[in-house]
């Protein structure tokens, strides 16, 4: 991975949690649950295009294990939430559940894919 691609990868990781924090909550406030569906399509869909979808994507995959921009959302949204007053200790149970869920899901997928 070259320096240029590395910088682009960092910025790709920046872009997704930033867009989620700026848009998602406000859309849900404005439109209720439908706002969440709109955000799913137009935040995740649109950012996916630049981070993964185009032929030379912003997040360069250095290896063979797929690094999804979802990882950036999980980390970045958690950091932003902690900095705006979210209790870090109370979130440990969910962090553990999410990481175990990811590992369990990966194992279950390896059974049939």
């Amino acid at each position: 991975m070259t320096i240029s691609l590395g910088i682009a990868t960092v910025l790709g990781g920046f872009l997704f949690p930033f867009a989620v924090r700026m848009i998602w909550g406000k859309m849900v406030d404005q439109w209720g649950a439908i706002g969440g569906w709109m955000a799913a399509a137009f935040v995740v869909g649109t950012v996916w295009c630049i981070n993964h979808g185009i032929s030379t994507p912003m997040i360069t995959q250095s290896g063979t294990a797929w690094v999804d921009m979802g990882l950036a959302a999980g980390v970045g949204v958690w950091v932003a939430s902690a900095l705006t007053g979210g209790n870090v200790k109370k979130s440990y149970r969910n962090v553990l559940a999410a990481v175990s869920g990811g590992i369990l899901g990966g194992f279950l997928l390896s059974l049939f894919l």
Partner: protein, 140 residues
């Protein structure tokens, strides 16, 4: 019980994204939009709107994206071995660095936005500019 709830919700989200998205995304940009709409939409609704995963209101928010990211990495690690995980470590590190910066910047901007709305709430008339407000404060 809440851990089990979270485990189930996060596992389902990770599995569906990591199994289905790749094949829909193969149809190009619009496959990606379709995947975002039909997968992230209902998974967000189940996990975060219904709150199956049980995020507390006052706790730092754990998005299902974390589970999705880990699921993608672990899927290929289970299928191709640990050398697959090692080869992807540079990308994992860079993406996490970017995500932390993104979170810090977003939090700073949100705080600045919250200050603006506070300022507006105390303004005598809605839509009054801060300049006018400062001038008013000077004359008082």
């Amino acid at each position: 019980m809440k851990f089990i709830r979270g485990l189930i919700g996060y596992t389902i989200a990770g599995m569906i994204v990591m199994a289905v998205w790749g094949q829909l995304g193969a149809f190009g940009i619009f496959g990606g939009y379709l995947a975002a709409f039909i997968i992230i939409g209902p998974m967000w609704f189940m996990n975060h709107f219904v709150n199956l995963v049980g995020n507390e209101d006052d706790a730092a928010f754990v998005d299902m994206g974390l589970a999705i990211g880990v699921c993608g990495i672990m899927r290929d690690t289970f299928m191709n071995g640990t050398e697959s995980l090692v080869s992807s470590l540079p990308t994992i590190g860079l993406v996490i660095i970017g995500a932390v910066i993104g979170g810090i910047v977003a939090a700073a901007i949100e705080k600045s936005m919250a200050k603006e709305t506070e300022h507006e709430a105390t303004a005598p008339e809605p839509g009054m500019t801060e300049k006018e407000l400062d001038r008013l404060a000077e004359t008082e």
